[in-house]
């Protein structure tokens, strides 16, 4: 049966190729179908004049009522994610530095563990926690501040974990080289080790920003949502995922159309930001590695 073997091996190799191909299709199908239906149903409204600047429509049961726009929601998402990043990037990076560079101390290990656990906590719990905490401060319970905090709670463990990984890829000989020159530990960490890890850190921040800009759950009882443009950090604020969540469930077709338009916009924005920043991170990495 020896001469049988190559045929068998070929058959096996072919079937595995087909199988992996099918898995790829299965994995890509949801993404493609989401983009496809968002493009079909949202494409029309997205390119309407003022869609990106007008306020969202009220409920309207007349067949011809206008679709209007998602201006406040774009603005709100940028503000919320910006606020969240202002908190999450320094906190996450410092926590990661502690976890990776001061690992011998118990606190370092505790940080990695906490970040791991937090990554697994459902985002709605984060929102509920922030809500629960600020219930005692009614004037800002529903506001950009609490919304930003809730999103930062989602971003911090992501930034921490990826930064920690990035720091760990920096060879130990670099740390030794710096210390042996009489450079103090914190200077060596911030200005040599962290700089060497920068592309990885940037990727982590990007990942966290992407994740936060699509989250609705943590904003449900914090940012709350609004039909108006931003009017103060202590006021409820609009956000794209909240609008989509709201309008997708709406019985009125004009609001449903806006939800599709917002979905398409969010997808496209995430895609563009993602590709653009990856390109920049790649260039940064090459520059540092010596592409001159």
């Amino acid at each position: 049966m020896r001469f049988d073997r190559p045929a068998r091996r070929k058959f096996l190799s072919h079937s595995i190729a087909v199988l992996t191909g099918l898995c790829v299709v299965a994995a890509l199908y949801p993404l493609v179908s989401i983009i496809y239906s968002a493009a079909i149903r949202g494409g029309g409204v997205l390119f309407q004049v003022r869609f990106l600047t007008a306020v969202p429509p009220n409920a309207c049961s007349v067949v011809q009522c206008a679709t209007v726009g998602i201006g406040p929601d774009i603005e709100g998402t940028v503000i919320l994610v910006g606020l969240a990043s202002l908190i999450a990037v320094p906190v996450g990076v410092l926590a990661a530095i502690f976890a990776s560079e001061y690992r011998s101390r118990g606190l370092g290990r505790a940080i990695s563990f906490t970040a791991d656990v937090l990554t697994g906590v459902p985002s709605i719990i984060m929102g509920a926690f922030i809500f629960g905490y600020f219930v005692y401060y009614p004037s800002i319970t529903y506001s950009a501040i609490t919304g930003g905090l809730a999103l930062s709670a989602i971003m911090i463990p992501i930034v921490t974990r990826t930064t920690e990984e990035a720091l760990r890829t920096v060879p130990n000989s670099i740390r030794e080289a710096a210390l042996a020159l009489g450079i103090s530990k914190w200077k060596a960490t911030l200005r040599i080790v962290l700089v060497a890890a920068l592309p990885g850190v940037a990727t982590g921040v990007l990942l966290a920003v992407m994740r936060a800009s699509g989250e609705a759950a943590p904003l449900l009882f914090t940012a709350l949502g609004s039909n108006l443009y931003f009017h103060g950090f202590n006021q409820p604020v609009a956000a794209l995922p909240l609008l989509i969540y709201d309008f997708a469930l709406s019985p009125y077709s004009n609001q449903q159309k806006v939800a599709w338009g917002a979905t398409l916009f969010l997808l496209a924005a995430i895609l563009i930001v993602n590709v653009a920043s990856r390109y920049m991170i790649h260039r940064l990495g090459r520059q540092m590695a010596g592409g001159a």
């Binding site: 011998s104 080289a177 210390l179 009489g182 450079i183 200077k187 060596a188 040599i192 060497a196 010596g290």
Partner: protein, 252 residues
């Protein structure tokens, strides 16, 4: 006999975890002389010289007992950062800062450890690169990344980087293990120059090298100091049987 003592270890014992890698080492390094440390692989040469500038303690779960006196002062009761500025080190494997240019590598200590005028830094970079026998090869491209250099060039860059910090003592852990004979000769000449101003401690596997460059030689075996003597005496009239066996290549 020996001149003034620059650096001195007293009953130095260093641990990794609970296991001592070197035991009870007392050794004196004469001022502005070259001292070589020889011995079989794993006998604790690197561990020992890493104790001399307090690098040993930067690794996790390590410990040092005993004293190291620099100009009579115990470095273990001083700020390790200041100690390392006075006692520079070149590692066994070249470890340039990969994210920095040649210039920024050499000037790292000056740039990070205080403020200096630009031309002072420039001059220090040129001088150190010349001392490390690298200047001619890189003078047209000091702004290119350090990683664009060959392994041997990187090691000379690391030597230049250590010299630019202007230490009083220079510890070198097999600085030539990545170099070709020509670069090795250059480094050996450099060491000969350096001892006018610096106290040099060099770990080497190459006995001829120790014989060529060192004024004094210490032989380590299994974490202990077996013999320390002027190089000529150690190689020609070893007092210990172990030393003799090692230098004649008859090792059981």
């Amino acid at each position: 006999m020996m001149g003034a003592v620059k650096l001195k270890s007293e009953q130095l014992t260093a641990y990794y975890g609970e296991k001592p890698a070197i035991r009870d080492i007392s050794l004196e390094f004469p001022d502005r002389r070259v001292t070589a440390i020889i011995g079989p692989s794993g006998c604790g040469k690197s561990t020992f010289i890493r104790c001399l500038n307090r690098m040993h303690e930067t690794a996790p779960r390590t410990r040092v007992e005993g004293k190291v006196l620099l100009d009579g002062e115990d470095i273990y009761s001083e700020d390790p950062v200041r100690v390392r500025r006075r006692i520079g080190m070149v590692f066994q494997k070249p470890n340039p800062f990969a994210t920095m240019s040649i210039y920024n590598n050499v000037s790292a200590a000056l740039r990070f450890n205080g403020r200096h005028p630009r031309d002072y830094v420039d001059a220090a970079v040129v001088r150190s690169l010349q001392q490390a026998a690298l200047w001619d090869e890189v003078k047209d491209r000091v702004d290119t990344p350090a990683t664009s250099l060959s392994g041997g060039q990187q090691q000379r860059l690391c030597i230049a980087r250590a010299l630019a910090a202007n230490p009083e003592v220079l510890l070198m852990d097999e600085p030539c293990s990545a170099l070709d004979p020509l670069a090795t000769t250059k480094i050996e000449e450099l060491i000969g120059q350096l001892k006018k101003d610096y106290t040099v401690v060099i770990v080497t596997h190459n006995l001829q090298q120790a014989a060529r460059v060192a004024d004094y030689t210490a032989f380590f075996y299994l974490g202990g100091l077996i013999e320390f003597a002027p190089t000529e005496d150690l190689f020609e009239r070893p007092r210990e049987r172990l030393t003799e066996q090692y230098i004649t290549g008859r090792f059981g």
